[in-house]
Symmetry: C2
Subunit: 351 residues, 2 copies
């Protein structure tokens, strides 16, 4: 067991502060990682604020972790000291249920262990995330980061990336499909990059005309302003797939109108009640609304390999650990393009 | 052109009354049918009351039509005089769009012609349904009724039957699947019969414990009372498929909880706004909510053939044409097991 520096919210609604936490000693299946970068996800804020209930304090957030291996257990053959690796939203799962057997640990039927605020089965208490110097993780939950991509921009791939990749892959988005990405934030900007790289005709759907230029730079072929009824009407019944990244409850009916017969809109952002959906909008053309949660470890590695091949990373703004509370405020007001990443050197070198 | 007896609502909210209507002369692709039975569908009432807007008066309802062929056009080779046939919700479609080419005329992209209150492309004005002595229909929209099943009970197969069959078939419900049918009315009782005949473990999901006995007689293996939170909890995340036949907006969240990962609930009844769906309920196990509308002609014939093989018909209460207004009132108060069917002899023999 070792003591490492971290940043934590000591209690609900409080600012994050320096805190020393314990990491377990490396067991035979573990990989010890020196954290270099950690992305800032809106879930970090929700957990700190206890928005979803069940938060345990102190909360050490962070599940977009990039670092270098410093040590491995005796059973670990796929990683060695010095390897560039990542850790996402999960650090363990039962490995025995149907979901785990199908490489869908995010849907583990016995409850997986989240990277922070999960039950720590080694030390007791709850797990601590990546806003810290080091982490020790079972090798099955460690991802390999392609050495050719910028590791800073790779951090958000571990959550924002896989959250948008998984539905595009699961629903089989392919070259020539007309794909809409609703909402341009941390998730949406990754959705555009992926849909574009998969060869889809990619349409950014946003309420804000001001986002058009950025959307096109990110890879959107078209921008559809959802407040423009005439434009929305023109695109009615034309989309093969919609990726809805809006992070709050909203009226999804105008988007459902955009779907082709038999097409699906997948929610990845709104983990709260949606405005009433009109049954007729689904019935009349056999349309579908679904949800999707992050992604399994196997598909996360596939996504990372795809990013290596296509040189895809997240657009990030680097911050020091000490600036985290300011960054949280800016995330809350959507004032970031498109993801904050903490340079963990700032934590390590602090007194 | 011929003049035939019918029953019609002369204007919104008025009772149905006798009326003479015109039927076109048999063209080369047409089949003329002497109507023997016509089912009473809740849509008939919605159209008479103009609940969905766009009703044109007089409304002659009826799209669950059973009769015998009296005459066929020169191009018609698949039917001959005396054949037992049916007509459902559609009498024409464009035949050229992708949906029509895929045998999904119900989703015709250029707008199909509904059996009543559609645009009559032959005579002008709007189409008249099955509450009448005769109908003339393009042979492509005429169905063959197996001679071994009771033609009275076959009438509702043309709408209630195909509406529940189509999603079960499209989503591939099979032997051993755990299938829930929500709501026990005209649609629900067909859903149970079909799911049971397909070999699924069929669960009737209802708010009314009083419906348990009937549900089991219809083929349900189990009855789940949706108001019983403990029972609902026991069945959480266990259903492969849910067929939701509830005809009005309602809270679907408790049903979504019942779905397994990746499973779908299909709406076939509620063509109106649902209570707010919680995004988290979909996201956490990649669940899906979809809609489905009646069915194509090809799959309607498949359903009828299946009914012939398994001796499946609807449970019906026979009425005379003159009792239609009383029957409407009873449908509105769900006082029918499970579908009214009009014996058209009563119309023909009336003065």
């Amino acid at each position: 067991m070792s003591e490492v520096k971290a940043y934590a919210a000591p209690k609900e609604s409080a600012d994050l502060k320096p805190l020393d936490i314990k990491r377990r000693a490396v067991t035979k299946d573990d990989v010890e990682i020196d954290i270099e970068y950690c992305g800032v996800c809106h879930s970090d804020i929700h957990t700190v604020q206890n928005d979803w209930g069940g938060s345990q304090y102190p909360v050490v957030p962070g599940h977009e972790i990039i670092g270098r291996v410093t040590s491995v257990g005796e059973n670990v053959t796929n990683y060695k000291k010095g390897d560039l690796v990542g850790v996402g939203c999960m650090v363990d799962s039962c490995q025995t249920c149907d979901s785990c057997k199908e490489d869908l640990e995010q849907y583990c039927e016995n409850g997986n262990t989240m990277t922070y605020n999960g039950e720590d089965k080694h030390l007791g208490g709850h797990t601590f995330g990546g806003y810290s110097e080091k982490i020790v993780v079972d090798t099955k939950f460690v991802l390999r980061i392609p050495e050719n991509i910028d590791p800073k921009g790779a951090a958000p791939l571990l959550c924002a990336g896989i959250t948008t990749w998984s539905p595009l892959a699961h629903w089989g988005v392919k070259k020539g499909d007309k794909v809409g990405v609703i909402g341009l934030g941390g998730l949406g900007h990754m959705g555009i990059k992926f849909a574009h790289a998969l060869g889809a005709h990619t349409v950014m759907i946003t309420t804000s005309p001001s986002k058009s230029e950025d959307a096109k730079k990110l890879g959107a072929d078209e921008v559809l302003i959802s407040k423009d009824d005439k434009e929305m009407e023109k695109h009615a019944n034309s989309f093969d797939f919609l990726l809805n990244t809006v992070p709050v409850g909203h009226d999804t009916n105008p988007y459902i109108q955009l779907l082709k017969r038999d097409a699906t809109m997948v929610l990845v952002g709104a983990i709260e009640p949606l405005d009433p959906i009109h049954g007729g909008g689904l019935v009349l053309k056999r349309k579908k609304v679904a949800g999707s949660l992050i992604g399994g470890i196997k598909e996360t590695q596939e996504m990372l390999d795809f990013c290596g091949e296509h040189n895809i990373t997240s657009d990030v703004e680097m911050i020091d650990m000490q600036d985290i509370n300011k960054a949280f405020d800016r995330v809350k007001s959507s004032d970031v393009k498109y993801r904050f990443v903490i340079d963990m050197k700032s934590l390590k070198e602090s007194k």
